[in-house]
Point group: none
Chain length 414, copies 2
Amino acid sequence: MRAEVVAVGTELLLGDIINTNAAMIARALADAGVDCRRQVVVGDNPERIAAAITEGLDRADAVILTGGLGPTQDDVTREAIATALGRPLRRSSEIEQSLREQFGSLGRPMPEMNVRQADVPEGARVIDRTFGTAPGLIVEHEGRVVYAIPGVPSEMRDMLARAVIPDLLARAGGDVVIRSRIVRVAGVGESSVATSLAPIWDSLGDGVTMAFLAAGGEVRVRLTAKAQSEGDVDERLGAAESAVRETLGRAVVGSGDVTLESVVAEMLLARGWTLGCAESVTGGLLSSRLVSVPGASRWFCGAVVAYGSEVKEAVLGVANPVLAENGPVSAPVALAMAEGARARLACDVAVAVTGVAGPQEQGRPVGTVVIAVVGPAGSIVREIRVPGDRSMIRTLATTAALNLVRLSLLEEES
Amino acid sequence: MRAEVVAVGTELLLGDIINTNAAMIARALADAGVDCRRQVVVGDNPERIAAAITEGLDRADAVILTGGLGPTQDDVTREAIATALGRPLRRSSEIEQSLREQFGSLGRPMPEMNVRQADVPEGARVIDRTFGTAPGLIVEHEGRVVYAIPGVPSEMRDMLARAVIPDLLARAGGDVVIRSRIVRVAGVGESSVATSLAPIWDSLGDGVTMAFLAAGGEVRVRLTAKAQSEGDVDERLGAAESAVRETLGRAVVGSGDVTLESVVAEMLLARGWTLGCAESVTGGLLSSRLVSVPGASRWFCGAVVAYGSEVKEAVLGVANPVLAENGPVSAPVALAMAEGARARLACDVAVAVTGVAGPQEQGRPVGTVVIAVVGPAGSIVREIRVPGDRSMIRTLATTAALNLVRLSLLEEES
């Protein structure tokens, strides 16, 4: 079973909104084991929408349209389906009545414009509305199928889960199951991960593939398996994940929905410890990633963003001679910042990050980052060099700091 | 001039990531007056990428590819361009050498895999890298053009602005000039802005349009003008901007490339003042937005992220009875936090943000945010209520805090 997604909306082509709907539908299709090889965006133009439908049906078993089902003149997805499939639009008195009743129950008359939402291509089945006013459509055509669901994300998600995916699965008839799993890796570059994993390609077995995606200082290894049953797929993914973990060892952060920060949170909670930060180069980014984990107040104390040397001294208690002798981007200063944060914030583990984000060098080259972690079992300091502009350097420094906290907690375990 | 966007990446088809690149490119094209009628997403498959290129060149003058230029085996955009245009790939010894030098300067050998990034389709021009390792490509073909830029957003943005848009504009020639200008507005909702500006529509004149986009607690008013010459366009945009400013007054943050934080930075620099923060609900997000301004160290001292009440007391010196009587999300606590930050961080102006991001209420409903600004001329406290989930509440609280700093500085001016 193969499907394509066509998102309709001039606002997408102008970049006024981001196409989160396509990602949402893509994930639902991947989870259902439906192969999707193309997503398309077209504007509110009936000929171009119709062309996208026709091309999609040439390549795939199903086309899922989202958007263009509203009541205004620029909502033309209904007309486009009628054109593409060569069928007239018929006004459904049943939908018209239900629309009038819906407005009536809100105590206002239906704008006459809305009656367009009762027009359906001949032979279409209607997907009932839970929210909103736009009904969805399922139109079978010469052994293939076109779905049309609204562009409003809440309405789209509802009809996708309730009608489109079940209908697709019923059509697929359970021949092949496809599933993916993400294994997250930190502290190693994309090409090193790919090189390390190259030898295990052959052992992954039939129907299992690997892909790599680097972002923000982490690498995501995506394992995809295809098999006859859910059980088979899970078994293949499990074996592949084990092989990846065995090869990459502690560089593996976790698999599935975890993030570096959620893994650090779990490790801290398991030990009953709290964490605090002293941030220079990252300027608050590390803290904001930590508090993005729900329930962060159980293990996150707070942070001191010590951007200037005065704050490092006055608030964190970094001694002036240490700063003067070593410069602000140095192992002794990072250590003193972490120790200061641990004392001031009264936390069990403290992490400090100092570095040079540029554009000016500060005694050290742009991209130099020094991280220190101080905890119950001792301290670790690490100096790294990261590429990029200010924003990327800060992102990579944040990821490296989170990873050093993770590694230090693993260390205390062993 | 008409262009299409092809985003390459199986991770997009699986919904692992959201296609923000397409929106970014779309906006840049719209701002440059280049018509874009279709966006396509295809996976890491050379035949399907090649098919998307061929189809795109049938419909448009230019195809902009993003993604698939990395060093690993699944990065096949180079090969796909070669296939689509029927040209061989040639290894560029110049790019190879510069890649080796780049790795050398980071003190590590280049993985042999990376040499693939030196392969370019015959006759292509290379877009030099600012970051990363992937060079971009400009390939002219039978009067049309294919651009290939990386999928990593920072690298993509850089090459788009520096090479792709200027090249497209040069090709478009100068029959009609279309330019857009963004006027940023804070502290007022999208529909209020649209309602306030409704009366000026008619006075904007021929060929000038307005569009509204709300994001992250700000509203962007996009003014677009079309005329025969640059001078005419600039004059129309200038007149339209004046009309908008006159109507919206102090809600206007600025126009063009400014941000709330860059405007605050300029105002502080003009007064020779420094800024510090006390953050509770925003957890470091406010600081990280401030330090994103280049040269922030000239006016930004630092911050205390006081997530727990202990830190509010111990580091910021918020008195226990003030906390106990009013609760952590209250005007007296916000004021005490700002005063504490002003004293501890030794800054001229301090801003404090406290609030409830949820999911649990904390004596006050989820979405309650209290902001205090304390400066040489006195203090302001403001309580607001913002919608959304944890992440949106923190974003909106950050924007509101920056805007209150801006308004307090404007106040001192008048």
